[in-house]
Each structure stands twice: as structure tokens, then as C-alpha cells.
Symmetry: C3
Subunit: 176 residues, 3 copies
């Protein structure tokens, strides 16, 4: 069975087409590089509007049946940055460890990593992860959390993901 | 005066008796090993049900007068994992630093440590701490936070705990 | 244009005058030492009362137009410690990365750093940061987060802060 992975770009400028979406393609390239199971991307671009982000997340999880949804953009302190709020609004459980680890890793590169409010949570059979907008930061953040992603999705009865172990060694506890 | 310490095992299977509770005894053994003041455990086992976990926490803090309550189990992302929500529901104040440090320590052993939603908080004169279900993780997490536990309980007028300094060096600021 | 920086001491004893406020002056000395742009402090002292802390924060941000408000005191687990709750009540966005990093840095000095509930958030054009009450901890915490503060305030259209780079190297992404 093919896993579906939602890729949600949140950006006023990308949505209006006055700015090329680089975050969404960076997430797709990362997954192409790392995942070894059959999978299919479902990509959407929305502006920084709470209701539109929420609607896109619901569509990706509830209608499309994505097991993993990765967002890019809208995680900072600026007035239009609202992706974490939209994520929290649609999730049943939040996973604060994702944001903690991603900020910690990003701190090795820039002190402004503490400004990111990125988080992660569970809705139904899906894990939703917020990433920053910058393509290089996307790779650093995914490298940090990806080893825990397949088992997390197992726990919520989503698709069974496998990874190229030379890139990412996914961890599943023995006997599970 | 004898301190009371609540030990709450949250597990559907342990509650139904189809699985031996290993988390509760691991917490008790840890406290036996580390605490040097007179103390008495009050142990309960409940299923992964929000209302039953909340009721058990209230019983341990309000009725039994425990100064410290340590839970084990129910901190993950699975649908039945609901211990952190029950903890937050009965606490007046949350202490995010406990969860942050415990996840950070657990990350040295498994990348899936970021999936744990374990937290800690204050209710009345008691500190409530969530631990994972696995006995080895219980020891690692308690080793990390225990140096701060006696002073925390002092600050909420709970029992005065002392520790075997060869195991855990509890910190109390000078002049307090 | 002169930046305004609010310095809010939260302490029952300092407010009643039975204890000299050392936290407020420590924040002011720090800013004198580090900031190179023209700025003016607006200092207030309030007791550990939710409504009075909230009112002081609103006054500093909405009436005085401070771009940065730094609080000291009231971040622990004791019953009267209520500064983070007041901060969250007036903020539109919380920035969990500040509390995470400040606790992590403080952990190098004392294991009880995990008891601090200090946080940060955005209200209007201002960044509000909670610091502990102890002057030495104030310096350690500000050293940790200060490199991210000027850019954060840029993002919410507050005053343009500059720092003495021999003390704090503020980071602004290129092209912003």
C-alpha cells in the first residue's frame, strides 16, 4: 500500500505566485531521498490565514488519508505567522519534543532558532510536523526528527514507513 | 513525620491483570534506593482512562496527602495515551522544564524519546511527575530530575525529603 | 528614535519595600552594558498578583510603547509565583524556545533550573521575556537569548536595537 504524505506550504507570497515555493519542493526532495517505501506526495499551498491552513490540514489528513503532513513556513513571531496555532487547533495531541529538538538543532546554526514556534501533533492516523520556511533549515530539522517518525506513525495506525538506513536510521523498539 | 509518595501505574493491561506492572515497582525500588527520610508508598493501578487517572491523582494528593506523585505509562502519542492530559487537568501549575530535561536525557538512548509527552506540575502541596512505562527509562528520567525534587516540594510546603548523596545530590539554595 | 524598554520587578517583598529590588537594577545594568542604540528604561515594581502584573505589562506595552519588556521574579512553582500566567494572558503568541534555552543554560549552574517556568511572548510590537529573580541568573539568561532579541523585535515592527558586538552578537538574517 502506498503511503500518502501531505506537503503544505504556508506563505502569502508563494500563494499569490509572487514568490517561488522552495519549501514544499525541499520537503519532497528530502522524502524522495530518505523514504524507501512506496509513497505519494499531496502538495498544497495556502496563504498565512488560520482558517485556510486548518482547512488544508483537515483535507490532507481526513480526506486524503495522509499519514504524515509536513508544513513549511509561518512558524515565526511575526503577526502573519500562524501555522503552529492552526496545527494545534486540528490536533488531538501535541508532541512538544519535536519542537524542542528542532529548535535545539537549529541553534547550532543561528541564535534566532529560539524564535521558531514550530511544533508537531497527532490527528487521527496522522503525524503533523511544522518546519521553518528556509530549505536548508528544513533538511536540518527533518534529519533530527525523522528517526522517530515511522514508529510514531505506527503508534497511530498510519502507513508503514521505511527509510534508507545510510541516510536515516528509523528506530522501532524491539518486540513492537 | 513520614512523607507519602504516590505511585500511579497507568496501563489498561496492568489494570486488567493480563500484564505484570513493572513500572510501579521500579519507581518504588528507586525511591527505596535514593530517599533517606522516612516515607511510605501509596500505589494505585488504573486503566488509560482520563477520568480514572484524574480521580487517582486527586485521591493521592488531596485525600492521602502525598507530597510527590510519580506516574508511569500513558505518555506516548497512541490514542489511549492520556496521562499528561489528566495531569494537566488536576494541576494548578505546569513545570515544562521536567519534560524537556527528561526527553533530552532519554534522547541519549533512543531517538523516539521525542514522542514522549511526559510533563510535571503542582497541585496543592504536591509535585506530580509523569514517567514513561519502561523500567530502564524510569531510572534515567528520575536520575535527571530528582536533584530538583526536594526543593520543589519545599516551595509548595510538602514533606521534607532527603537523599543519599552518593546516589542523588539534592540541591537547596543557600539561605532557604 | 529612542527605544523604550520596560523593566518589571514582580515581588511581594520588593513592592512592600521590605526587600531591596535587585532584579530590576540588574536588568537595567545589563542593557546599559550591551545596547548601543539610544534607549530609555521604564521601571515598575508590582506584587505577585495576577491582575497587577497583567496591568503593568499592558501599561508598558500599550501605553508606554516599550519594544521589549523584561520581567524578573515570580517564575517558580510556589503558590505566589504567577508571572508566566500573567505573561501568557497578555500575549498574542508564545515563544517556547526562550524558556527552553534559558532553562538549559541555567541547568549548567543549578539542577533546580527545571523548576523555572519562565517563558516569552509577543504582544503587539513588543517582546516580553520572563527572567528569574536572582541577579546572577538574570545575566546568564539574557546572555543566552539576547542575540535573537533585536531580530525578533524587527519582526513585530518594534524599535531597532543594536548591541555591542564584543558583548552580544545580535543576529539578523542576510537580506532582511
Amino acid at each position: 500500500m502506498q503511503a500518502k504524505i501531505g506537503i503544505l506550504t504556508v506563505s502569502d507570497r508563494a500563494h499569490r505566485g509572487i514568490y517561488e515555493d522552495r519549501g514544499g519542493p525541499a520537503i519532497r526532495a528530502y522524502m524522495d531521498d530518505v523514504l524507501t517505501n512506496p509513497w505519494r506526495p499531496v502538495a498544497l499551498v495556502v496563504p498565512d490565514e488560520l482558517e485556510q491552513i486548518k482547512r488544508a490540514l483537515l483535507q490532507l489528513v481526513d480526506d486524503e488519508g495522509c499519514s504524515l503532513v509536513v508544513t513549511t513556513g509561518g512558524t515565526g513571531p511575526a503577526p502573519r505567522d500562524i501555522t503552529p496555532e492552526a496545527t494545534e487547533a486540528v490536533c488531538e495531541k501535541m508532541l512538544p519534543g519535536f519542537g524542542e529538538l528542532m529548535r535545539q538543532v537549529s541553534l547550532r546554526f543561528v541564535p534566532t532558532a529560539i524564535l521558531s514556534r514550530q511544533t508537531a501533533g497527532i490527528r487521527g492516523h496522522a503525524l503533523i510536523i511544522n518546519l521553518p520556511g528556509k530549505p536548508s533549515a528544513i533538511r536540518d530539522c527533518l534529519d533530527a526528527v525523522m528517526p522517530a517518525v515511522p514508529y510514531c506513525i505506527d503508534l497511530v495506525d498510519g502507513a508503514y514507513l521505511t527509510t534508507d538506513e545510510s541516510r536515516i536510521k528509523a528506530f522501532r523498539p524491539k518486540g513492537k
